[in-house]
Symmetry: D2
Subunit: 492 residues, 4 copies
């Protein structure tokens, strides 16, 4: 390969294009090209400060790097005859700054620590985006819930009408789940936000480098200290992959519900036309395609996780080229999450919830039978299991009326409910859906005051989470712009 | 979207670009654009023959389709504001042939059956390529094995030297495994090579179409008859995904061995420089990168399989948009297999096997201890388990000599081997690696005549498999070129 | 370990119980204990026939083996201080027949080929059971479909009412899918039904064994010839694992539908109480628990497949102990499929399909809008895409009436439908659901004559498949009972 | 089913044993039987305190529960005709305390919140065990590393000799990785250690329960507040499953190395016989079986994770019976990790590291070529990339001598090294392995002072982690013994 700086020495023969393309990570490396420029600058500023590279050579290379930081990495660096973007950028630097200067950048490091640093830099950025998007999604859910603390609807177990609840209560369940997804991303972030640079091939280097200094320049609060692990480990990728798979699985559940709720049978929600498609053949159709594809995207994240776990299984230390092939799975999943979260928020935000239909269904299928059994226990002294049996038997007879309940009570427990003082009126009140909901005022329950309290507390948490994301992003942005500034100061 | 033929009726609002891009399958549809033209032509020839579309309208559209068959699908049809390539092509046809003609092509079908047909057409082609590549790989293995029926090497269990074998025997194990992979691909092919066209949305159509005729035009030997299943099922994708995952897992094992054999410790193989890389920092390195990436590619296929299984889990009938999101996993895996197999063949074909090193190691670690135990059984009447114990104990003492064996025999079983007539000479002959290998002349064993017989039989099988692939490909190519010819006959 | 025949020689120290238990495969080996007795008998009959083991020793061991074949493997052989059942049985044989005789059984073989043979024997049996269960399931589907060729119901895409179809058509979609699952199991069976015995550790043996003879005794039509592959490969396990994962994924789809159809919203099916549960708290609930657990069991099969693929990734030849750990995944999945299929059949067989509800819903949501568009094309000459647009626009207005359609036609295409002769009567007929269904009489379509024809053809196929299973099972049963008979003839 | 308290009311028919067994979670419920008794006691103490259950009834049931807490859950409660252990225990309580008392325990709760609480209680305990085991493993690694800061060995990339390092450095890489696994378990623990009790079916309850009080009794620091999410979510299971999959993947890498290091080629480690097995046929074999099975166990954890993700995909709210089927995967994985970690520690702790062999190999394959290139750069002013090229070319010539290096320098860069003052002595010193290692004294590098510093810091971290585990366990144990004490105070 013409100009490949790495193949002039050890390896002799030319390389068939199919092999070169197979070994090249260029496509995936577009994700880290910008990060690589930052890493190069930080490393070079350190080499210069430590006196490992001379002033003139450092300046020449820094000038080229600052150019790339400002104007972007030139397309020639992405030629897939280079094995990777690191080689592509080094070749470009050598072209611009000459071999004597450009050839010194790689002192005291290796592509092994370089790529691990770039991956972490970019992943840090992706996770901050994801956390911000999860915050938006939670905000949408809290907002809709706030408007619907009084919107009674049926709650389901086993997809059967079970007990009345409210739309607020239902959606807050998801908000609470996504709040945990946020925490998982934040926990993963903490283990990603560490600097492997200086590990070189795996044994660090004999040059007098300063690892803490480069880490600081790149906005990393600490090192991945042991250098063998620094280049070999990819749990920093497996962990966000897991967090995404869990997050997207929760999203698939919400989308499943939106799809069911959109069906003509249920009609609890009307998704905005913008998120739907029609049929190429059936002119009446309005299909919840966005929700379906979002549901399917769980496949992307679970599949990427398995791909990465498979890739890592049984690899000996330290660096193996297998690691390169893990990366595309990482970016595919990251990108999927980045695209899915705003669409999920948008789809919810623009949806119309059919509260009339919900209320209509809230009492269906004897959904307040539990309340009735509870009344028989509380107010008429029946043992719980007996009351449960009586009400169940009456349901089997077809209706919950005084007549059927009394018959069931006689049959099952030789008790006369009428004799105990149960009346039609008692039964009617016990079966009322609004009574059912308002009586469930435990912390986390569906009663309007309970959901309102929940919303208040979670809005505070959301604000705190949002602040954390902004501060973290601010810290990193500042570090990176200071880095560029330092480089500019040198070259000017 | 300007010009989207599908959104003029039912759905009103515009669509945000992010949604349009999210719902679009355009990127994956590049794989099936050519297939879609074939499907359109076949469908239209049938509509014309059945009198469903008039002569003039049919001719106008066919002319445009023949143009695409000859010159390729125009880039405008891939605009990702279209939901998919089917819409893109239909829009193009309407532009060229007018709404009155172009708008009739979709009569009696839906995108649901259309895309299922396109996927099968392209997948058929991919599998034929894969089968051909597996045949090449088996051919390479048979060739190398043929040259090495006498190359003695150590066989391993648990990565420990176990018993002597030959390089031929070892490689033929892989050939036999890949022959089963070939069979699995062929079995999957039979279930892919069926035509769903005419299923329309899922309920077929009221138009008097002729499903058998279109199937024949497209070279399908039979229908996917039930039309509900025809558009809903994706086991035709899950099955090759499984076959690929199994195939690539076997490949990962072979690559693991090549990597181990390339290590300085073992030095059984020297891979051609073309398949290796060096280090950016360690100038002496020659790394088996191609084998490593091939090993990692198991992640791609296992991950894609999981993605597709996840995607399909719990989907109700019939078509759901989720199905669209399965397809990129299918193509990613297909492409990976297409790229990996020739590289694996090439890497093996150009490798140098270090038969001297292999022979040197063949007898190491008492690898012929089993043969010695067998001699004690066969020629000196010891029970097998006793002989096994004696030889094991002697190994623990450090060496297999008459002295240690005799001591072990006395200690364990109160037997004197010397007394039984065992001599130094007996032991030496029993421990000879060539004797060991040549005595293992069972069918499938390592003895040169056994491996030679195996090679002969498998070369015949390979020729038969190759013939089957060529005939099948020929049948399909003929059908498709006849199809184009029929269309050209109409338009000229 | 007292009495472990394998640890007397090479290895010295005792073994902590935790390690012994960890290395032991006893729990999973319960699946193959019976198979192991068959394998031992076949191997011993061959050793005796070849003169490798003397008459008296063979008889002594055969007597003990026949005892186990008749009375079962004694519980002492399952002590998990033995590494596996092979060691347990050998120890038992030595106890009964003495070391001199019992210690000879293992001549010319290894646990590596022994366990591979046992796994294939048992797996053969499992797959025959599964195939029989799939046949039953298909039979149930065909029977129900046969009773419902005229039961009109809505067909769905995207869980939206799409077009009318029939219950028969819907269920036949699953029958067709399960017929492919049957084929996949049968194809996998062919690659399992091969004999690895005689491969010994991996290099076959120097004893003059007769591999074809033992294969025949065990009812295997052919050998896994290359002995390296014979002990190393596990694609014979990965392939049924894949077939099961695909099968259970299809089953999860059917169960999802049964769950949705059981909801109060839909009420298309009432599952028999036997397959349902109630709630511990809500007395009115009847939940489709069996269908839910069946749906969840997809996790078992997909998970087991991934476990096995992960296990095999990157293993060098030949035998590695990792292979042992694959087996529990195999049996867990096999057992799951064995338990699920009859329950799925039973649940369907006892379900009540609410044809009244289905008919009621068949025309909902303008499900025959496609038919109306088709009539506008067929009988009034509109281009398809125009008709599609007009009908869609009218749906958006709220109703499909002559007035809305005419307004839509004027608005979109400046056409007067009234002017073209479209009347209320035309529209009413076009929207009739029975007309819609009966007009879809393509092969595989929902029209009663089409589904009846399908049922007739598939009943024939089912009978042929059933015959194949019975014949195959018969062939194997005969071989194994002949085997026992031969052993009995020797010992009597 | 005779005595099933749940099926007397709503559901009429008997249930086939196969269905009962299929729906029963009894086998998996053995894991939570003890936890269920704790939950029952806490719930009942709360019901009594709130006046929901009367004193006498509460005492009667508490007495029976205290009996189970002391003597264990009786075997009759595990009869798999009960759907689950909750029903089994309730039936037992009714038998002992009568329906009137026993039937009241379930007031204000459901099995949905009950099982979620039990799972979290048990999982909390499992994770504490795992964390303790990871701490032990890290302790073993630190101890061995401490003894080997001066044990020079080759470091590898791509399984090729790359640069010299030390055994300490290599093992500390794993210690650092396992320290992150510890953190992940601790983070997961925080999201598990929350109380869902009081959520009832999903809508909490109309009874005036006190959720905070029961949470406190069970040692939970906070609630899973929203009750819909409390019973529906299983990310509290998916997260540890992910953490285990990542942990076991790292373990598989270490085991792969131990297997390679055990091979006769490498001989860097001799595993204790207790962790090895021999062959049934090859008497000389000593195989690293424990390491192999540990490597294979990655399949268990990755497979269980996929099973659980598959199970959860697309499930609507709130409780579905599918959730029950997730649990066996959870316990299987938890148990696997519990068994694997101590064996991995034990295997390492008893292994003999062959430092002589390691030193012998440290300089092989020109492993100090990088150091030589660095010397050419540092002391003779060559650009790095040029020096890298020269040394690589000389390696290709066969040897690193002054002659080959000078020839390479002339050829590649027209430079005379001799002219620059490079001598044989310079080269010899640059290639010395001990010089190489000691010069790499960066933080995290292999130089003895760097590894010693690392060990010191990590021993402190380990002590802190250990203290955290002990304190957390202490807090929980105290809560649970206080709980039992409170119950005993009531009943005495």
């Amino acid at each position: 390969m013409h100009g490949d700086p790495l193949r002039k020495g050890r390896l002799g023969t030319g390389r068939p294009p199919a092999v070169a393309e197979f070994l090249s990570s260029m496509e995936a490396d577009r994700w880290i090209a910008e990060a690589d420029v930052f890493v190069d600058i930080a490393h070079l500023l350190m080499l210069r400060r430590q006196g490992i590279v001379g002033e003139m050579q450092a300046t020449a290379v820094l000038r080229a790097l600052v150019g790339m930081a400002e104007d972007g990495v030139p397309e020639t660096a992405f030629d897939d005859r280079y094995e990777d973007i690191h080689a592509g950028i080094e070749a470009h630097l050598i072209t611009i700054a000459g071999t004597d200067a450009g050839g010194r950048l790689h002192m005291g490091r290796s592509r092994n620590d370089e790529v691990a640093t770039c991956l972490r830099l970019r992943l840090r950025q992706e996770l901050l985006l994801h956390m911000k998007a999860v915050i938006s999604l939670r905000g949408v859910l809290l907002r809709i819930a706030g408007a619907h603390t009084g919107s009674v609807m049926p709650g389901f177990t086993h997809l059967q009408h079970a007990q009345p609840t409210t739309l607020a209560h239902h959606l807050l369940g998801y908000e609470q789940a996504f709040a945990r997804d946020f925490e998982r991303l934040r926990d993963a972030f903490a283990r990603i936000d560490l600097c492997p640079l200086g590990a070189a091939a795996f044994a660090s280097t004999g040059y007098p480098i300063d690892r803490a200094y480069t880490a600081g320049l790149l906005g990393f609060p600490a090192l991945v200290e042991n250098t063998m692990d620094a280049v070999s480990a990819r749990d920093f990728a497996l962990e966000p992959l897991s967090a995404w798979a869990i997050l997207m699985t929760t999203a698939s559940r919400l989308c499943e519900e939106l799809i069911i709720w959109s069906s003509a049978f249920v009609d609890f929600v009307r998704l905005d036309d913008a998120y739907c498609s029609t049929s190429s053949i059936m002119p009446q159709k309005k299909n919840p395609d966005t929700a379906e594809i979002l549901r399917a995207k769980t496949g992307v994240t679970s599949g990427a996780l398995v791909a990465a776990l498979t890739c890592m299984k049984g690899l000996p230390m330290s660096y193996n080229r297998d690691l390169q092939d893990l990366t595309p799975h990482l970016w595919r999943a990251a990108d999927t999450v980045s695209r899915c979260l705003p669409l999920l928020s948008g789809m919810l935000d623009t949806a119309t919830f059919m509260t009339g239909r919900m209320h209509e269904e809230a009492g269906r299928s004897n959904s307040t039978a539990t309340d009735l059994a509870d009344v028989l226990v509380r107010d008429f002294g029946l043992p719980f299991r007996t009351a449960h049996g009586i009400v169940g038997r009456a349901v089997r007879m077809g209706f919950l009326t005084l007549a059927t309940l009394d018959a069931a009570a006689r049959e099952m427990a030789d008790i006369s409910l009428v004799g105990l003082g149960v009346t039609d009126d008692v039964i009617e009140r016990a079966l009322d859906v609004t009574f059912s909901v308002t009586s469930r005022d435990q912390p986390g329950g569906p009663a309007p005051e309970a959901t309102a309290a929940f919303i208040g507390a979670h809005e505070k948490q959301l604000a705190a989470d949002s602040l954390w994301v902004e501060e973290t992003r601010g810290r990193i942005d500042t570090a990176l712009s200071d880095l560029i500034q330092s480089a500019q100061d040198v070259v000017q």
